[in-house]
């Protein structure tokens, strides 16, 4: 028993181990930044877990925490913070989705990462992006993005239809999920597929974000229920934004949709189509899409509270520790010596 207690005090609760773990934590965070490995989160998680263990054993065994209340408060706050961050990691969800103007949110176009204990209710989110505006203006010779508004209709948790405007710092909140507008937006050609047998289908394809990928406005369309895969490219000369007056993001007015099917190349305007053996693909028009960030983390206010508690403890500890002012005593001494 004594041996294990000694081990606990000497090694696992040691301040030297804390320093070593801080170093490992810093190294992990730096490496995390430079790697795309799927297990990279462990670079941060492992040092944090070890730090939490180190902190916990220190709290249990180090007598200083029974003498210094502020120091205890600081470290309890830190431990609570680490615990909450851990809880947050297994219960939160963060993701993104692209929604076509006039279309409803669908999980099929969303990507997300969620903790193992996250009660996923994304499929219950019902909202429609009626339209959106992103304002631009020439500022000192450069066209700059200003504010964003997304006009949305959604079903709240009681099933009531709601309408509102979200954007920039104001997210849409449903079932605890927060959907923030992002700088991501782009063009979306709309299609109708008329199969020779069966019902027509409508849909859209999202080109890469514009203007971030303005030189790569291409994508592929797999026609549903068929083996046809078509390559798409959007070509236009419309500058979209004015360099002399305020303007808004919109679809280009002179766009041509280039469609390539195997070796065949077509240039389509809205209303034009390409015939296949089993059906007809109509380009019905050019729309736009907007990217949203999806965020769910119930622990945020608690994490904030724990951070402030820890900081309050640290400030109290420093205040008590630094109450003596020896340099003033030195000055007094010098004055007396002069006298």
């Amino acid at each position: 028993m004594n041996l294990s207690r000694n081990f606990l005090v000497t090694y696992s609760a040691s301040l030297k181990l804390t320093l070593f773990l801080f170093f490992i934590f810093g190294l992990g965070a730096t490496l995390w930044h430079f790697t795309d490995h799927r297990l990279k989160d462990w670079l941060i998680t492992i040092p944090l877990l070890l730090l939490a263990f180190n902190l916990m054993t220190a709290l249990l065994t180090n007598k200083i925490f029974r003498i210094q209340g502020w120091l205890l408060l600081f470290h309890v706050g830190l431990l609570l913070l680490l615990f909450l961050i851990g809880i947050s990691q297994v219960t939160k969800l963060i993701g993104s989705v692209e929604v076509t103007r006039g279309a409803e949110f669908s999980t099929s176009s969303a990507q997300w990462q969620q903790g193992v204990f996250h009660p996923n209710r994304l499929d219950q989110l019902k909202f429609k992006l009626e339209k959106f505006t992103i304002n631009y203006a020439p500022v000192y010779g450069e066209v700059q993005r200003l504010d964003t508004q997304a006009y949305v209709t959604w079903l709240d948790e009681e099933g009531k239809v709601k309408k509102g405007v979200v954007g920039d710092k104001v997210p849409l909140e449903i079932y605890g999920y927060k959907l923030y507008t992002t700088y991501n937006k782009g063009f979306a050609p709309m299609f109708n597929w008329y199969p020779k047998q069966g019902l027509p289908i409508s849909g859209s394809v999202h080109f890469p974000a514009w203007p971030e990928f303005e030189l790569d406005q291409t994508n592929e369309l797999q026609i549903p229920g068929t083996s046809y895969k078509v390559w798409l490219k959007l070509s236009f000369f419309d500058p979209i934004f004015s360099t002399t007056e305020p303007s808004q993001f919109r679809a280009p007015q002179d766009a041509t949709l280039i469609v390539r099917v195997d070796e065949q190349r077509y240039e389509l305007q809205p209303g034009e189509f390409v015939d296949f053996e089993t059906g007809r693909l109509e380009f019905s028009g050019l729309n736009t899409w907007m990217g949203f960030q999806i965020f769910y983390d119930w622990s945020l206010p608690w994490i904030l509270g724990a951070s402030l508690l820890a900081l309050f403890g640290l400030a109290g500890h420093f205040w008590r520790k630094f109450a003596p002012t020896p340099w003033l005593d030195d000055l007094e001494k010098k004055k007396k010596e002069k006298q």
Partner: protein, 271 residues
């Protein structure tokens, strides 16, 4: 615009005079403390006028372009230093170390294009002000600590030992420097918390390990390690001073380097 430039140039001249007096004071063992305080204060007032005129002209605060960030940080660092120079006598001789460091910022500021920028929508929040405010106090506190650490390091040279003989002992300077580092840790932590609140509002995530966040975290961690090292080991005063310099350099690079070489959302760009 011309008044703005004139005010800024005069402010820099006043700061430089204060810095030169501080250096001469140490070299020739003279006491120019009142004159130094006077010139620093005059410089600060002129600097405030220059910032104010630009603020009125552009209708936004000094936090967008490199020039604005350098200018506003120089202003707050001077404000912080002047306050402690005025209130705490032991801090005063460190002007000979602190002001030359600020000369570098002044030169950089004057040679940086003074062009205007624009405010991204994500910058329209009170948390930005709080975040920046805490960051400035953090850097101010580290700067004062650097001043004292600088004296400790210079003292190991024979010529400087005599010049700084009348100053408090290394033990006292080290103690005071680490008090400022403790203040720096509190405000650096507050800066990160306020930044996280802003990031949650602006980008829908409170922490994303973007380059600026990563470097801000590394700076914070090195500051924590510095204080922890001092609490755990009996560090020599000199080593303590070098650790303070490290935190300052990291903080400096994080403030003035990373935001301008990364394309992270912190920059508020992306089109």
């Amino acid at each position: 615009m011309e008044q703005e430039q004139l005010s800024l140039w005069l402010a820099v001249v006043a700061y430089v005079i204060a810095g030169m007096l501080a250096i001469f004071g140490v070299v020739f063992a003279k006491k120019y403390e009142k004159s130094i305080l006077f010139f620093m204060s005059v410089g600060l007032v002129l600097h405030a006028v220059a910032i104010g005129l630009r603020w009125v002209r552009l209708e936004h605060g000094p936090y967008l372009t490199m020039f604005e960030i350098l200018s506003s940080n120089l202003f707050t660092l001077m404000l912080f230093f002047i306050f402690f120079y005025w209130r705490y006598q032991p801090v005063r001789p460190s002007a000979a170390v602190v002001l030359p460091i600020l000369f570098i910022m002044m030169a950089w500021m004057m040679f940086t294009p003074h062009d205007a920028g624009m405010i991204p929508a994500s910058f329209d929040t009170i948390w930005l002000w709080i975040h920046i405010g805490f960051g400035k106090v953090f850097m101010g506190a580290v700067l004062v600590a650097v001043g004292m650490g600088g004296i400790i390091v210079l003292r190991k040279y024979h010529w400087a030992e005599k010049k700084f003989a009348n100053l408090p002992s290394n033990e006292r300077l080290d103690d005071l420097a680490f008090r400022f580092m403790a203040v720096a840790l509190i405000f650096d932590s507050l800066m990160l918390i306020a930044g996280a609140l802003w990031a949650q509002d602006a980008w829908g995530r409170y922490w994303g390990w973007d380059p600026l966040e990563t470097w801000a975290f590394i700076t914070w961690l090195v500051l924590v390690i510095t204080l922890h090292l001092r609490a755990t080991f009996k560090l020599s005063y000199e080593r303590g001073a070098y650790l303070i310099f490290t935190v300052f350099i990291l903080g400096f690079l994080t403030f003035y380097g990373v935001p301008f070489i990364s394309n992270a959302p912190h920059q508020g760009t992306f089109g």
